[in-house]
Symmetry: C2
């Protein structure tokens, strides 16, 4: 067995004796040691910008579970903050953003924004230095449309104001997305240089978009980011995750040159297999509610996912992030089932 991380081998298109496994949001909310750390950290954004603490949060699940990859502890809303929009987190409520700055003003901050995110690079370097060589390190950014929805609406919502904005101010939205594509590409290049071996784009709100709009505001920007990152000589593979894209995930895979495609909870087995046959590595799609619920249905679904996709390049993961109140025993059980090891849970 080579030291080359299993996740990278899967993203090169290899079918392995077992798929690599990691969970979106594995760093954080479900672990008691995370809550201890969080209590010390104070403000959430300050926490993300503290490399020592963020590296610790990144590594905590790696100590508990035999995950094949660590994902840097950070937040997709660090980027709008670095571009000059006010961003903060209301305890128990989620993110809040100040008014959307003028596009020209945001554009003027793109070059400087990457430097303002240097702490994330520092976190990556620290984690890479501590992590075993066979475990991969994942950097990430939000998809431009998802980040734009927060920038436009100022908070979590049903995105109907942002989706209406996409119809009423198409030129303004396109200009905003262009700024975000540029800043995101620079951010990901920096992350790769700092030690990220895989880059994931989280498009959390790809849902409910009409096909023509999806092509314009999701597929185009993702393709542009990857082209920019490749043009800078970065070879780290990409995983694009258009959560909620439904059937449009096939168009996404056609239009976006990412090595991996994330599938959400609703993933169709047949579409996953078609993507594999087209040379994509697929990732997903265990229901995070089922992970939390546990029981025989959880074991059965894990086995079903392994059976339906395991004979092609596949990364075992959830279809959405780990829920805060997920029992650690359930995470251990699933990771053990995928890796074929018995994972003990410390108190």
């Amino acid at each position: 067995m080579s030291d080359r991380p299993r996740l990278l081998r899967a993203l090169s298109g290899e079918t392995l004796d077992r798929p690599p496994v990691w969970f979106m949001r594995q760093a954080g909310r479900s672990l008691p040691e995370y809550h201890e750390l969080r209590a010390k950290a104070g403000d959430f954004i300050a926490f993300c910008f503290n490399p020592e603490m963020a590296a610790e949060a990144t590594l905590q699940p790696m100590r508990r579970f035999p995950m094949d990859a660590a994902v840097v502890f950070a937040d997709i809303l660090l980027l709008p903050g670095a571009l000059g929009q006010k961003v903060w987190f209301e305890a128990g409520e989620g993110p809040r953003l100040g008014p959307l700055p003028e596009i020209a003003a945001l554009k003027g901050e793109v070059e400087a924004s990457t430097g303002r995110l240097a702490a994330v690079g520092e976190t990556l370097s620290r984690v890479r230095a501590e992590l075993e060589p066979e475990r991969a390190l994942i950097g990430f950014a939000g998809g431009p449309w998802t980040v734009a929805t927060y920038m436009i609406e100022g908070r979590s919502s049903d995105r109907s104001a942002a989706r209406t904005f996409a119809y009423q101010h198409p030129e303004k939205l396109d200009a905003l997305l262009e700024v975000l594509v540029d800043a995101t590409a620079r951010y990901l290049i920096m992350q790769a240089k700092a030690g990220a071996q895989v880059l994931q784009i989280f498009e959390s709100w790809a849902e409910q978009l009409a096909e023509d709009v999806f092509e314009r505001i999701v597929v185009g920007p993702h393709a542009a980011i990857i082209e920019k990152v490749r043009a800078a000589g970065v070879t780290a593979p990409f995983i694009g995750f258009p959560r909620g894209a439904g059937a449009l995930v096939e168009e996404y895979a056609k239009g976006v040159p990412a090595e991996g495609v994330g599938l959400d909870t609703q993933a169709s087995a047949a579409i996953g297999r078609r993507l594999q046959a087209q040379g994509k590595t697929i990732q997903g799609a265990l229901d995070n509610l089922l992970l939390r619920a546990g029981g025989p249905a959880l074991d059965a679904r894990v086995d079903q996912l392994l059976a339906q996709w395991g004979d092609g390049p596949y990364i075992f993961n959830l279809g959405h992030g780990v829920m805060p109140d997920t029992p650690i025993e359930h995470i251990a059980r699933v990771v053990g089932r995928v890796t074929g090891t018995r994972v003990k849970v410390a108190a």
Copy 2:
């Protein structure tokens, strides 16, 4: 040109000189005359159970716009009420339901439930008597899973409690769905006998379900309802609308013997054409936010939908219901564009 309603011809698989058009939630919230009626009606459920007023609400949009079909003014939550669960509407907040009764208790009310919904039949008869013969009348019910989410959660929500229930109490959910299938089939048979020429099943919350769960709790129950209605000798065509089903809409179309399949806002043009090629009539999928937003993007999207699907059996509609604050001018403009007539808007 025959008097046979255009909607029925489309559902027989005919490609017409132009598709029939109607809008989900066309009766109601967007019309000023509706709000006048609503103010007089008092309680929302009492309004639905008042055949004179409900018939008036059903007919209001038919007077304003050359819609090819009227859809009975009613609510999917009348059914759990008829089965003995308490249901009421909080002004400005939406539905509230009392505790979920025991399944055995609900089962004991199935036979009686249809009689308790007789007012909906009376509304249908009144509307059918007033409506021009070339315009069709649509009856409907909620999909069993969607109705179950409200019965379990007691209100509108993100359905995560109901989706967790589906994992933790599969036998109990299956038993609840069986009761709902039986009661829904009886309700739809009654509606057809009272004058409904088309029957639509609104599965508003088909989203975010894992494929195996979707098959079990959406596809199976819809197929069972249609079989029961057909077994009673009712020949009215069905439109099944699994909103949010994404790529799984193809499995839905394979497993559910409905003549028509509703596609939501995110519909893929290619999937729509595949369904048409398989003999399904498709319906949808204009974004209700775009209808509200208006402007050149609205005209362009209407033309695109007509171009991509108009040469197969197609019913023009939204991908979701009309939003309350949609300008009437926008509705008139779209209906005019589809029907090739200029629709005047009265003040």
